[in-house]
């Protein structure tokens, strides 16, 4: 693997990591409010389908992108109903949402396999795209890549510096104290779930509008789960989520390039790399996480009191 291939690899890493980044940011938002939503895969793929269908019907990729967010939020809303209203177990509800979401998207999307839809293409940022190294890597991507990057400081600002974000985090750390202080626990959890779902939906939209312009059953291919793992790796911080997402995008792109260059390693083993790396990274992050960075009330439902 010589140096001339590193630059295309980095560019591919960013493209490949962008859907994961959207999803990771979304799940961070949800978990910060104290809700564990494992339905990321289900929300991502329904978002991808919604984006694809909208783009086909209207020819407007930007609209399709937004609709995907709405659909992602709506699917996340199911989780909110089951867990916040009916106090369903959050872990199982998320899993059920994944099974349901995958089934729904694959079912409705089966007639659309093999078709294409208008989407986003790569653009060249004026002047900057001529920079050596950074030019092709960072400044010749499609617009959604930049949207995702922009969301990182935005989410950080919301969580750390805004009043709403403070309330949301309080609800995730000490819901009883927050309630006593007059902060609506359920309200902020709804915001966390719906907002998170929308971001995950955006991630799905990226897959069918920008990464490819196609649809197939199972388009998300496990990226939702990697996002859930990355939230832990990122210590629930948006900045590190960016790093993690691009790292994983890179690994996925890397093993294919290794084959292209010519290797004797069996491809089955190479394909294990992203998953093995996820485990390694998760273990490392959890082990080093002496003072837990997870929101204290994560995954615990609020019972009605008498």
């Amino acid at each position: 693997m010589n140096t001339a291939l590193i630059i295309p690899l980095l560019a591919a890493a960013i493209q490949s990591g962008t859907p994961i980044l959207f999803a990771t940011l979304g799940e961070i938002l949800t978990e910060k409010s104290g809700v564990l939503n494992l339905g990321v895969e289900g929300m991502m793929i329904t978002g991808a389908l919604a984006a694809f269908v909208t783009a086909q019907l209207t020819g407007q990729p930007a609209l399709a992108f937004l609709i995907a967010g709405l659909v992602g939020a709506a699917v996340g809303g199911i989780h909110a109903v089951v867990c916040l209203w009916f106090l369903g177990n959050q872990v199982v509800s998320g899993l059920a949402l994944t099974i349901f979401g995958l089934g729904l998207a694959n079912y409705l999307g089966t007639p659309l396999i093999g078709q294409s839809a208008p989407g986003f293409s790569k653009l060249a940022v004026p002047f900057l795209h001529r920079l050596p190294v950074l030019g092709p890597v960072l400044f010749q991507q499609d617009v959604l890549v930049y949207v995702a990057i922009l969301l990182v400081p935005l989410l950080w600002f919301f969580l750390e510096k805004s009043r709403w974000g403070l309330h949301l985090r309080a609800v995730g750390e000490h819901p009883e104290a927050a309630a006593a202080a007059g902060i609506g626990v359920l309200r902020y959890r709804w915001i966390g779930i719906l907002g998170g779902g929308a971001l995950v939906g955006f991630g799905g939209a990226y897959l069918s509008l920008a990464y490819t312009h196609l649809w197939t059953n199972g388009l998300s291919a496990g990226r939702g789960w990697i996002a859930v793992a990355l939230v832990i790796f990122a210590f629930w911080r948006p900045g590190r989520a960016l790093l993690g997402a691009y790292l994983f995008g890179g690994v996925m792109a890397f093993q294919l390039r290794l084959q292209a260059v010519g290797t004797h390693l069996p491809s089955s083993l190479l394909l294990m790399l992203p998953y093995g790396l996820t485990v390694a990274v998760l273990v490392f992050a959890s082990w080093r996480n002496q003072q837990t960075a997870a929101p204290a009330a994560l995954g615990i439902n609020i019972e009605p009191n008498d």
């Binding site: 209203w85 079912y107 789960w225 485990v279």
Partner: protein, 354 residues
């Protein structure tokens, strides 16, 4: 001004869980009928075909039973893990490892008589699956790694490992390069029950179900497990061996899924090939949650979800419904049961504000 207050019941109502399940099934059928309508298929006819395909003849009921065997075993294991609040999503990978372990025995000792080879295959399947389940348990205990992610990633790795073996060193030389092992020798195949298409894996299910019932009813560890699930903190304070329980639970959980893999490879396909993986490990999650720790209800739920799969095939054949239809129903049933359980656990009181 009256207000409605919810309070947690001491004991969930006895009839309520059945009612909730029934309501969940009905609601899911209704949503599925709607889905059919959305695709322009006749809704009522579709539901009728679903039942007909699954239960309309002796062969289809047998098919449901055959399919229920691996689901049942995986679900037993997953249910035990869930009881301790260990979210074992890895039944799929443990299933694969079990199949691999059994296949190794079948390919290495094909000449052995069946009463030596079959138990050996079962043992190796249990051990391989169990080890694959132990890994996430250890990572959880030592490194506090979230078992949901670890077990899930191990699923992908296990399937790729299976691919690696059947594309490589275990590939049948007479298969014209297609990825599959040689057919197992006759003594490595779990035989069919005479006069039917069912295989003796059914007996394995009965034995395991019984063993589980005895374990939880009459043994100390079973009691500890049942109690520990409620409140992990209390468990530790009470001096119960939480770490040991976690390891035990994951080994058993993985081992049972491994047994399912052995049975599927030996009895149904008679060899190892990538298409042995059809998602039983994920269906097991649904069953385990629906049926909790009662082997009988696990059996019924396994049968019903197997019937769903068989019925959906009929739906495909007659109405050209896409294959993903079954996933919608599975997910819906679980979601509605989850929501409905609220009414099991909470009662309502109307209060007048003074």
């Amino acid at each position: 001004m009256p207000s409605i207050n919810a309070y947690r019941r001491q004991e969930p109502g006895p009839w309520s869980s059945c009612l909730v399940f029934l309501a969940a099934v009905v609601l899911s059928l209704a949503v599925s009928a709607l889905m059919l309508k959305l695709q322009g298929k006749p809704a009522l006819k579709g539901i009728e075909l679903l039942f007909q395909g699954a239960l309309g003849s002796r062969w289809s009921i047998e098919d449901c039973l055959i399919k229920a065997i691996p689901i049942f075993l995986c679900s037993l294991g997953v249910a035990i893990a869930f009881r301790l609040q260990i979210w074992n999503i890895g039944a799929e990978g443990q299933f694969a490892l079990g199949a691999i372990g059994a296949t190794w025995a079948a390919l290495t000792f094909p000449e052995q008589p069946w009463f030596v080879l079959l138990p050996l295959m079962a043992l190796l399947a249990f051990i391989s699956g169990g080890l694959w389940g132990l890994i996430p348990a250890l990572l959880k205990l030592r490194m506090r790694a979230n078992e949901i992610i670890v077990t899930l990633m191990l699923n992908y790795i296990a399937i790729l490992f299976l691919d690696y073996l059947v594309y490589g060193r275990w590939k049948d030389p007479s298969s014209f390069g297609f990825p599959m092992t040689p057919t197992f020798s006759a003594s490595a195949i779990v035989p069919k029950i005479a006069g039917t298409e069912l295989n003796w894996g059914l007996a394995v299910c009965l034995v395991c179900g019984l063993a589980m019932w005895i374990f939880f009813r009459f043994t100390r560890m079973g009691f500890e497990l049942k109690v520990s699930g409620e409140n992990i903190q209390a468990t530790r304070y009470a001096g119960l061996p939480y770490e040991k329980l976690v390891c035990f639970v994951m080994i058993v959980s993985g081992g049972l899924a491994g047994l399912a893999g052995f049975l599927e490879a030996s009895a149904t396909i008679n060899r190892l090939q990538p298409s042995i993986m059809v998602g039983y490990g994920y269906t097991a999650i649904v069953v385990a949650w629906l049926a909790r720790l009662n082997p009988l209800t696990i059996g019924i739920a396994s049968f019903l979800l197997a019937a769903l799969r068989v019925g959906v095939e009929n739906l495909q054949l007659e109405l050209q419904v896409p294959a993903a239809f079954g996933g919608i129903m599975e997910g819906m049933i679980l979601l509605t049961v989850l929501a409905g359980s609220f009414f099991n656990e909470f009662g309502f009181r109307i209060r007048r504000r003074s």
